[in-house]
């Protein structure tokens, strides 16, 4: 009798347990980026980006504002200016067509700029770097788009380090033996 019970228990374990797995697998149904205070920066679902960057999509009205996020902060770009000393109309290089309206996240406070003028040829005489330094340079004439700060400083809203979180959805069924 005891032998039968033991054999039945072994059979039950063999049938119910995953073949070689001590843990179980679930579909993830969310992937979100959170700041050091646990505040959600945004959704990164389905996973997008690459090369040390995760992409979080925002919008300003119906204009997409695509922000690259790394664990230590937001990916920041640079601005061009038509005058020396980073004065005059802020510009961004516009070499990539016009599928998306041009946006930029610039400076130590990760200030958001959104395209405010048509793509056209501009003469650029200075550049505001990602960390907020201004470099004057020889004039160069290239395609650019006028951008305007919209009063949003992402670094004022979200504090690094940033981490990703998932939530579990349905359990992944085991393969039939």
């Amino acid at each position: 009798m005891g032998l039968l019970v033991g054999a039945a228990a072994l059979l039950a374990v063999a049938l119910l347990a995953p073949a070689a797995a001590a843990d179980t697998l679930f579909y993830a149904d969310r992937l979100t980026v959170h700041d050091a205070n646990g505040r959600m920066v945004g959704s990164a679902w389905p996973a997008s980006g690459g090369m040390n960057v995760i992409i979080v999509e925002f919008r300003r009205g119906s204009t997409p504002v695509i922000v690259g996020v790394r664990p230590d902060g937001f990916i920041r770009g640079f601005l061009r200016f038509p005058n020396a000393g980073c004065t005059g109309q802020p510009l961004v290089d516009a070499f990539w067509g016009e599928l998306y309206r041009y946006t930029a996240v610039v400076g130590p406070r990760s200030t958001v700029y959104v395209q405010s003028g048509a793509v056209r040829m501009w003469t650029k005489r200075s550049t505001l770097t990602a960390d907020g330094r201004c470099n004057d340079h020889e004039p160069s004439r290239d395609l650019a788009a006028a951008v305007t700060a919209i009063g949003v400083n992402l670094a004022d809203e979200f504090m690094p380090p940033f981490t990703t979180r998932t939530t579990a959805g349905a359990a992944v069924p085991l393969t039939a033996p």
């Binding site: 697998l25 993830a28 389905p46 996973a47 997008s48 690459g50 960057v53 925002f58 599928l99 069924p173």
Partner: protein, 340 residues
């Protein structure tokens, strides 16, 4: 009788001008295994990452290929012969935790500590082989996740877009729906379909998944002024039978979707119709409306390589979409924080 004639006339009026089959938007791009089981939802450019969570609360990032599921990092050991403690490299994608999948059972190792400078002596390859390989770099301690993906999924894997609403032909303006995230629109205010921003593609191009009436998944690469897709020709003026470069076939979305390309000003969808052979091509059309003459390294017209002939599948995207294209964000995308 009258009803029958009216129905027939209606079908004629609604039918695409030159396309023999219809086109559907996609609600999701899903990776399936060979048994038809869902592996996961993927983003809609080229990122082939699937995300899982384990019962123990660990997140696992998996990179899909047609023949296997792969981790996002390499697995090393502190001693030779893959003995001692296991450690993981940083993922190329930058995702944490790092993961590694190896061996015939697709055994998962996952990051279980912080990265620090360490010296390793051997590495376990994805195929389960161990190679002694001394390396000093950033490594994080790894643990077996207690998951063998072979218990769950059976290769090969395939991407399929889930068909949603039918796409009408002609100029039909469509508003953003309340749940829309990023949507590609054409010049007539008509939706091409949903897209996901990607660090590699945006802002130059977007990838949109659509499904044909026959169930074929097409991943459209949308430039601002045209639908991208290259076709090669033996002529110098992009006329005659089109071909696709064989390397493009071999790496077409990691072999997870059927190989297709677009040909000519009507952006006719074509699929391979034969085997690769060595041929000399003299022109190429990327879809921009320009025909580029191909020259070899010494400037003579013609480039020789392995090319595959193409045939039309009966679908012309010019029936559906009119360039230029733009991307709009719907309310499914999070609004930027409002300044205080």
């Amino acid at each position: 009788m009258t009803a029958g004639i009216l129905f027939f006339v209606g079908v004629l009026l609604l039918a695409p001008a030159a396309s023999a089959q219809g086109l559907f938007r996609s609600d999701a791009l899903v990776l399936y295994d060979s048994t038809g089981k869902t592996v996961g939802t993927l983003s809609q450019p080229g990122n082939l990452e699937v995300v899982f969570r384990t019962g123990a609360g660990r997140t696992i990032f998996v990179v899909a290929r047609a023949a296997s599921l792969n981790g996002n990092a390499n697995l090393y050991f502190s001693e030779t012969g893959c003995s001692g403690s296991p450690f993981l490299t940083r993922a190329d994608s930058g995702r944490q935790p790092s993961s590694h999948i190896s061996g015939p059972r697709q055994t998962v190792h996952v990051q279980a500590g912080e990265f620090g400078r360490r010296r390793m002596q051997s590495a376990l390859l994805a195929d389960g082989r161990c190679v002694d390989s001394a390396r000093t770099s950033d490594f994080a301690r790894a643990v077996p996740a207690g998951i063998d993906l072979a218990d769950y999924f059976t290769p090969p894997f395939q991407l399929r877009a889930t068909p949603g609403e039918a796409i009408p032909t002609g100029a039909v303006a469509e508003p953003l729906d309340p749940t829309d995230r990023l949507v590609v629109y054409d010049a007539n205010g008509k939706k091409v379909g949903a897209t996901r921003a990607d660090g590699v593609y945006a802002p130059a191009a977007a990838v949109v998944a659509v499904v044909t009436a026959s169930g074929m998944t097409l991943l459209l690469t949308v430039d601002d002024s045209y639908l991208s897709g290259q076709a090669y020709f033996e002529s110098t003026d992009c006329t005659g039978p089109p071909f696709i470069f064989d390397d493009g076939v071999g790496d077409h979305w990691a072999n997870l979707v059927p190989v297709t390309t677009l040909v000519g000003p009507r952006r006719a969808v074509h699929a391979p119709s034969g085997n690769a052979a060595t041929r000399t091509m003299s022109s190429v059309d990327y879809g921009s409306g320009e025909c580029y003459i191909l020259r070899n390294r010494i400037g003579i017209v013609g480039q020789t390589g392995r090319f595959v002939p193409l045939e039309p599948i009966g679908l012309e995207l010019a029936d559906y979409f009119t360039p230029p294209f733009t991307v709009r964000a719907g309310r499914g995308t999070r609004a930027l924080p409002t300044p205080d």
